[in-house]
């Protein structure tokens, strides 16, 4: 598993904004159109539309057309992906600790 790549950049960058995290949380709990989401924030429709686009490029959401509306649907796999990446970081740390403990064992 690679910890580099622009895909990962986009994923964490999308999560690094309060409004986008809130939009994502909204989309997690129910289906909302872009304009329904936009009404919840003190920003223009276009601003919220851009945030959704950032989430979409990060793979965190997709859009489904329903008539004139565009429903924002979460992609739970992208969250799993982010978690897996963090797990790999943690493992590096744990493995180092284990190596350290192995050395202590030898010293006995």
């Amino acid at each position: 598993m690679e910890l580099d790549g622009e895909e990962v950049d986009r994923l964490f960058h999308a999560l690094a904004d309060r409004t986008r995290r809130d939009i994502l949380a909204q989309a997690m709990t129910g289906d909302h159109s872009v304009s329904a989401l936009a009404r919840r924030y003190p920003f223009s429709f276009a601003a919220v539309q851009k945030h959704v686009a950032v989430l979409e490029k990060a793979g965190l959401v997709t859009k489904q057309k329903h008539g004139r509306e565009q429903r924002v649907v979460t992609n739970i796999q992208a969250i799993e992906r982010a978690r897996t990446l963090l797990d790999h970081f943690e493992r590096l740390w744990v493995e180092r600790l284990e190596r350290f403990e192995a050395v202590l064992e030898e010293e006995d």
Copy 2:
């Protein structure tokens, strides 16, 4: 647990850069000074120093002075924190699924 706040912004933003993720991975596997880290990248010392500062403000690393060196040490709790935040997102999604399933049960 809050999913908002500038602290969280800083955390995910720090992770949203390939070089910083790599620096973090290096710091996870062993102790390195800032200049030792800087030598591994095709950037100036100052650039790497800034990346470390971003990681530090995000709480992902701390610095420990050893003589003229500054050792970069990871703070595993910050990674745990990020994982916990992602877990909360996932839970929103799962809870929604459960509500949905409960409705289906009722219909029987």
